[in-house]
Symmetry: D2
Subunit: 365 residues, 4 copies
């Protein structure tokens, strides 16, 4: 079944494997007239490029994007925008060992069972490189949102036991450290923790947080196309995500109505909320407050420490996985979360345009 498309009227379709010719995406349904060039995309892609710190894979890819269609005289034309990043450093190493067994925490076994066999080179389609297509498309979505006054801030909230305290939050710190943490002290502690993980041939999980400001009220459609439901799907479609929560999230389960409800108030003549426990949605629609959510990422499953597994002959064996792996997925996943968020929001904005008869009639007058 076709599973590589996302979105309804602003739709992306991704393709490509870790060790194939490249990774690409087709963005269909982008409104015409948006100024767009490869630099707009590259800026986004560079945030997930490998080799930027000691905690990311040493695979050497410049991940330069090439736009193949959909742009004329510097602007989107309304036709599909095809983009590709050619793979360059797909090592011709021997994969016969990795082909013979199932790596714990990876999809190898599921692929074999579902499809009968798998492209085992570097994880094939389930490699982290698959996210290149999402990020390239997300760059376009984010640019569209910016035209409408909407901005997205995404960052590493925690790595293993190290969490950014909200009273130490500094947005300007995010791009000052390789972990994309909005707190220099936490970034230092997390770095030490990751070095320890590495020395123990181990890896760490973490949490990404995302805050969107400037959204109009009413995005999302009751009852199955709720904004938070579509965001949940978008974020959970990223490999290694094991949890998603919005606003107070799981803490809301321990709260009471009195503490969890956000009182409405007037703010400069506009309806607003005194607090934002809801995280910016009510009844599945944006409520005018910032959208705030978090995604939990599991630790990188590829570790150098010895692990137990089975091989294709059905024998239990010990393995240790060597290769070019990140000991933490989170820092490079920050821009992937941002991309999926932007894609979800643009689609919601386009789908929301026909909610009222008045607006529809006005539009066509």
């Amino acid at each position: 079944m076709a599973g590589s498309s996302f979105g309804t009227v602003f739709k992306i379709t991704t393709w490509g494997e870790s060790h194939g010719k490249g990774i690409g995406v087709v963005v269909d349904g982008c409104p015409a007239g948006l100024p767009l060039c490869e630099e707009d995309i590259q800026e986004y892609l560079d945030r997930r490029k490998p080799g930027q710190s000691k905690f990311t894979t040493q695979r050497r890819e410049d991940d330069a994007v090439e736009i193949l269609s959909g742009i004329f005289e510097g602007k989107t034309t309304g036709t599909p925008i095809s983009m590709v990043v050619w793979n360059k450093d797909q090592k011709s190493k021997d994969y016969s060992e990795i082909a013979s067994y199932y790596r714990p925490g990876h999809a190898d076994y599921c692929f074999d069972e579902k499809y009968g066999f798998r492209d085992y080179r570097g994880g094939g389609r389930s490699s982290g490189r698959e996210t290149i297509g999402r990020v390239a498309a997300g760059a376009i979505a984010a640019k569209l949102l910016k035209e409408m006054g909407i901005s997205i801030l995404t960052y590493t909230k925690s790595i293993g036991p190290v969490t950014v305290d909200s009273d130490r939050f500094r947005a300007e710190e995010i791009n000052q450290n390789a972990l994309f943490m909005p707190d220099a002290v936490a970034a230092q502690e997390a770095t030490a923790y990751l070095e320890q993980c590495l020395s123990e041939k181990n890896s760490s999980g973490g949490v990404v947080e995302c805050v969107v400001t400037g959204l109009p009220v009413g995005l999302g459609d009751p009852v199955f196309e709720k904004l938070d439901a579509n965001l949940a799907k978008a974020i959970f479609s990223i490999g290694a995500v094991k949890g998603f929560e919005i606003g107070d999230g799981f803490d809301a389960a321990c709260a009471t109505g009195l503490t969890n409800n956000d009182a409405f108030c007037m703010d400069n003549g506009k309806i607003s909320k005194r607090t934002n426990h809801s995280g910016g949605t009510l009844g599945g629609m944006s409520d005018g407050a910032p959208l705030v959510f978090r995604a939990a990422f599991k630790p990188t499953p590829s570790i150098a420490a010895t692990q137990q597994t089975v091989n294709k002959s059905g024998e239990e064996i010990d393995i240790s996985i060597h290769g070019r792996h990140d000991p933490i997925i989170v820092p490079r996943a920050v821009v992937v979360v941002e991309a999926m968020t932007a894609l979800t929001l643009v689609d919601a904005m386009l789908l929301n345009m026909g909610a009222k008869l008045d607006s529809l009639v006005d539009f066509y007058e």
Copy 2:
């Protein structure tokens, strides 16, 4: 935009408001030949029926389902199954007050902004009664799964601060208490906690957990139609859900690869896993282990205690909401979670049938 349909080849469409004529659902794409009668549906609906304990709304509805189409000689025919539950106890009370202001924690304000006005009687479309359609449809999906040896166990994991300890878990307890908790002691403590909430005109949140056994390996489609991504959307489409996690979920973010990876092993000649931190999916596909996930529900927003809000004239006012509300959503949401899970799984099973050329060729031979 149409938001009341869920599923791709096994698709449901729900309709109805709290104080309209009734609540209904059309189930389309159900395989032909499934024995089905109203009792099959009613059994499921009765699990969410109001008035079963002091913690659920005192609205008197027997919620009797009527099947309107799609069945012939006791079996599904492959054509749409239309079902309805007629509303009976929609009180003709005066709604002018509730129409005049925005209830904190409710979607009133978002509806007004999105659509220009709203059906304010009992919450209209955003009432909990909307879930009747999901549950009726879910009963069919669950019966289909049972035919294939798949079973779903859903229960209350926690209410406010009271959590079921995994070593006190007793499946047979679930239906022995009105809170659907698999632990009699926890159920007693939770009851006491809820009584206290009620006495303080307050409400509580909680967590629902779901375990699915018997799934084949490989359900779900990379990369955007991952099984867990579709489950996340399904569960997040239920009103009041603020968090979703699978397997170790948010705890995985604090774990390391060594502790989080599930080692593969051989079990009676079949590939199995020694642990199930993943919660039954790898790479977005079912991995043969039980599917285990949790949903966090916020406290019921309608509380009798005094709250601040604004009215439609833009004045800040104090309100206290009276009516027939549950102080906790969770116990009645248990079967809703189960229904959405069953719907998601049946769709995934149907969509998985064409994954391999061999199976396709065999099917048509």
Copy 3:
């Protein structure tokens, strides 16, 4: 697979069989604020009601529609509009004979092969009564279009060999005869022809034509969601349709570029076309000229004359079908064609709103 839904953002889902409890439809995605009552729907349904002439089934149904949801204080709310027509005259006759064999020209055999068995009472789901849901939904779509200055004229173009000559076309005649022909003379000739068919226990085919005026330029989306492609699907989804053509249609295949091209010209300062061979679309988008298309309907397959077929035991037998059948489908199909057209156009108008960045930015400012 779910096949009972139509549309993307303005979506309908139909249900019901000839001899079940009723026939219904859920309309989802209708913009909020449209004044709507049962009379709006009934007016449309009455155009396909049986028993209006000697050429339609004598089954007695008043086909009164009941709206079950989605309306508040006389207006659509943006939530699903559920409608039902209860079956009243489903005769309890003996269907064992019809159950035992496959009627030529009907779907009996295909249903049995696909689903394993079928609801044989009155054709089950493949009865002409299935179109009630389409027509009820189409009434809403047509009302929306009217709000935007778009009107649809649909009529019988030909019955058997009797065709309405374009120079004798009188729109005001359409509702003056039971055949909905825009030419009184042709209507008389067609009546005579149908009487002859009836006397020979035979039936006739015919053609429906539809003209839409007032459409904006640019509806439809290259390359697969062309306006004419979606219309073709919409019309071909009506039972008994065997051909669809737009503008000059099949005649264009015999034409040359010089005769078939429509010259652009200026008309009161606006771009217009001197002719309309294209039928109102260019490149799959509306071109500002009236949309003109035709649908060919096959003769009613149920005829009283003796026919050959096979029974379920695999024996070749002779049959003659008695019952309440129309000797011509076309007159009652006129409003069905109009309904499917309206549904297709509303969806196209909603989907077109995000085509330009400028309009999108303006919308949200």
Copy 4:
């Protein structure tokens, strides 16, 4: 709105313009295990390659396909198959004239109105080169069908007034003439007719016919996803198509039930039909007889003869269009019709797998 995808579970997404970098397609949902190489695709593409006769554009393109993903060790893996044909002969000619006016019979005006501007180089996205993506994807679908014993025969049925008589039909002639006509005499007459058109700076329309054999009974889903409805959309999505009919098509509108009904009979112990007026579908499902349908194509709109139109300043002007255009679209459209047919059928076969509970249970046992 995204309009460049086709199909539900076997889905294609095309991209590219006449004078961009290339034309491509992503095929998603292809079952794993199909042997596939570039030659399989090329064979199909060569049937639509330009420059093969004096009646096709003299643009020099070898249209060599490159597979970028989705294949491993010579077989499809179940992941998206990305394919591209790089443009080579996009002349750097001056397009300022063509940019300034609206060509009759083309979509120029509609593109400008819908999107605000257009890529006018060689027709941009509405160029016939857009069909490369469809044909490349169709080659895969056709190969899948062949694995299941289904074959498709497509050919030119008529060109202008020259029609292939059914009693002179010779399948083996189809590839013996540049017009793909199954009748050598008709091909000669059509050649003469086209030469005359060319000499008059004119162009011709024509009809393509398609016959599919080996289909199982029951493909297609009542009521909106009928097999013929989806075929109608598929074929009408091809540029220049103005009519589609199945079986007797428009002739059925003049027929009677007695002549149009196909009698069922027994043929070697299997249920069959004595005739095939229906063209292989009943009630929107395949009926076991060959699928037979026709598509009417309008004449090429680009002609060298003088025509009237308006320019972007709103002035009426005379133009004559020079360039590399075919005087007839039909011969090169033959393989496009075949491709769209194959794509529609594969999707229908995959969607049909869950029609019966028995088959579903068997599948997962």
